[in-house]
Symmetry: C2
Subunit: 371 residues, 2 copies
């Protein structure tokens, strides 16, 4: 254990008689997180377009729209399809969408059904998109993806104009640029510099688009770690996702507080046969393999001094040699995951509660819609 | 890249016009894997009770039974429920089942419906099991879990008798012992010693059960890495799971050959905007985070010299600075996962093919049945 959190979350109250493992969301916390992020965006004068990859839940998407979100962001065509079918009519797929083969037909159908925007970062992808939507009534809106330091996808900001002009010649409609500051997730001190990087990259991208003779209206920025800093010109919209639940990763880098954790995995202690450890029924098929043997695989606030040091598929190894109290076989403990997004994707439903009161069960509607 | 495989797999032939990411299983390879493991068990004079956690597929379970398996092994009560509903009537849940709360009612219903065996490694769990099945017509069969070196769950082999005797006083029926040699997965050289550990632990456990006045009839051993060595007295059954598909992890430790990989993830190259790398549409929500930046996150046989160095949720970073040929945006590549079990659990269906011919789609029936 090389790291201690400045502020540890308290153990959440849970309903009784739970079947475990289960993903529990505290509705009061989730609502507060949604309200706070919307206020932040509104105060900065930018739109909020939450990324639904985190929750994949139509119900939660509706809460975000009701709070004032201007639309939603999806990570895959499949996620967009699920939300479009549920009535969401303004969706940005913030991904370099490849529209060849079956996916081309799906993109075309979505474009005909709702206001769709997609990400674009190369000429071949532009060709495929143009072919996919050829002959539809409106041009497809695209946002040029630019790289601001994450080194993942996206052209150099200065090259945005060339790609946009090429896309326009194909009949696509470039309306602006987007970027993802993935490097802002690295540490507490990485957030503000990454935000500066994304704002600067979007400035350059817009300049490049204008120099190419275009009139960009959208400059779209990430992310939960940078959202507090990036609501300033030329940014017009923010696309955070994780803020709705938060997780230990966000807590570690100061992107949320200990009271802002909206999702815990309820897990049962099933074995104490090996000394100084208990086994809980949450392993990699429940928590993903997000973490390390140094960082651990999640926090168990109810077991002070406990350390979730290892995972197998159905087994979590919780070291309890320094734990107080020592959990007993049959006890249900709540685990705060390190990274919440892959965890939600492993469950069919979210159990909605407020403290000990069970309120509802919401399906993870877009679970498994991976492409 | 610190490790080279002795034998690299060839790129599989794939059907065209695939929607990606997709989990493809080559039926010819899968059938051959099933046949080979059954032959190995039969030649050793032991029963084969395949672990369904790997495939979670009723269709594949049926292929295993048809080839001669004596029953199946499940990792969770939920998996057992799915297979019982599909007609499987002899299921061992190789897990320290906690039968309190809702799970107690589910264990009771399963016990009444099929021939169920469950794992047991502690007195409190025995109490809960006995309460759960109180008043049913037959006693519930239990296998005492013993630890053979994995340090996960299971009592010390010499303590098996005491726990079994206690379980018997509660009305449970201890029929033998089981163990899991998880430490046999560590390296090529770990397999045979781990097999010796498991055989020895089961010998001691059976002696302990006999000393307690019981007559054990089952000594159940793991696993794909140790299966080639553990089919010898007192072992009566083997419970391998991964052999049905195998993966890069099994290939690295010599537990399969390069032609035995039965599952690949088909993924599309979606971006080449950042130099010396392409992005594929398979990230942690498709492959899990099984691997490391040193080992990589899976093999891409079609891209010689390519290295899948990093994953985000929907993005795989494939380094291609030394790759031949360099994949183009829109190309579909097959990824052999490092660890196949968590990958299957992320998909709704398996696409069944033989080379370029698409045969069928099989649901991952027990996906998400995590507890």
């Amino acid at each position: 254990v090389t790291e201690t959190l400045l502020e540890r979350p308290a153990a959440p109250l849970l309903p009784s008689d739970l079947d475990t493992p289960a993903a529990l969301i505290d509705l009061e916390v989730v609502r507060a997180n949604i309200t706070a992020m919307q206020r932040l965006a509104s105060a900065a004068g930018v739109r909020l377009r939450p990324h639904v990859k985190t929750h994949k839940s139509v119900e939660i998407g509706r809460l975000q729209l009701a709070a004032g979100a201007s639309g939603i962001t999806a990570g895959t065509v499949g996620e967009a399809e699920v939300f479009a079918k549920a009535g969401f009519d303004d969706i940005f797929i913030a991904y370099p969408v490849w529209a060849g083969g079956p996916r081309g037909r799906r993109v075309r159908a979505l474009h005909e059904a709702i206001r769709l925007r997609v990400g674009l970062d190369g000429a071949r992808a532009a060709d495929a998109l143009a072919t996919a939507v050829a002959g539809t009534r409106r041009p497809l809106e695209v946002l040029i993806e630019v790289d601001c330091g994450a080194g993942r996808s996206g052209v150099r900001p200065a090259d945005a104009g060339d790609l946009a002009r090429y896309a326009a010649t194909l009949g696509l409609l470039p309306i602006g640029a987007f970027t993802y500051p993935g490097h802002g997730d690295a540490s507490r001190d990485a957030r503000e510099p990454a935000s500066r990087d994304e704002v600067h990259a979007l400035e350059m991208a817009l300049a490049s688009l204008r120099a190419a003779g275009l009139t960009p209206t959208v400059a779209s920025a990430g992310s939960t770690p940078t959202a507090a800093f990036s609501g300033r010109p030329p940014v017009t919209e923010l696309r955070p996702g994780e803020y709705v639940f938060n997780d230990v990763g966000k807590l570690r880098i100061g992107a949320c507080g200990p009271g802002d954790l909206g999702l815990f995995v309820a897990s049962t202690v099933v074995s104490d046969a090996v000394p100084d450890q208990v086994i809980v029924d949450a392993g990699t098929k429940t928590l993903g393999r997000e973490g390390s043997e140094t960082l651990g695989y999640g926090l168990v606030p109810a077991v002070r001094g406990g350390f979730l040091r290892r995972l197998n598929e159905y087994h979590g190894y919780l070291s309890v040699d320094r734990a107080e109290p020592r959990p007993k076989v049959g006890d249900v403990v709540a685990i705060a995951p390190n990274h919440v997004c892959p965890v939600v994707n492993l469950f069919d439903e979210l159990i909605v509660h407020e403290g000990r009161q069970l309120l509802d069960r919401w399906p993870v509607d877009a679970r498994g819609h991976l492409g």
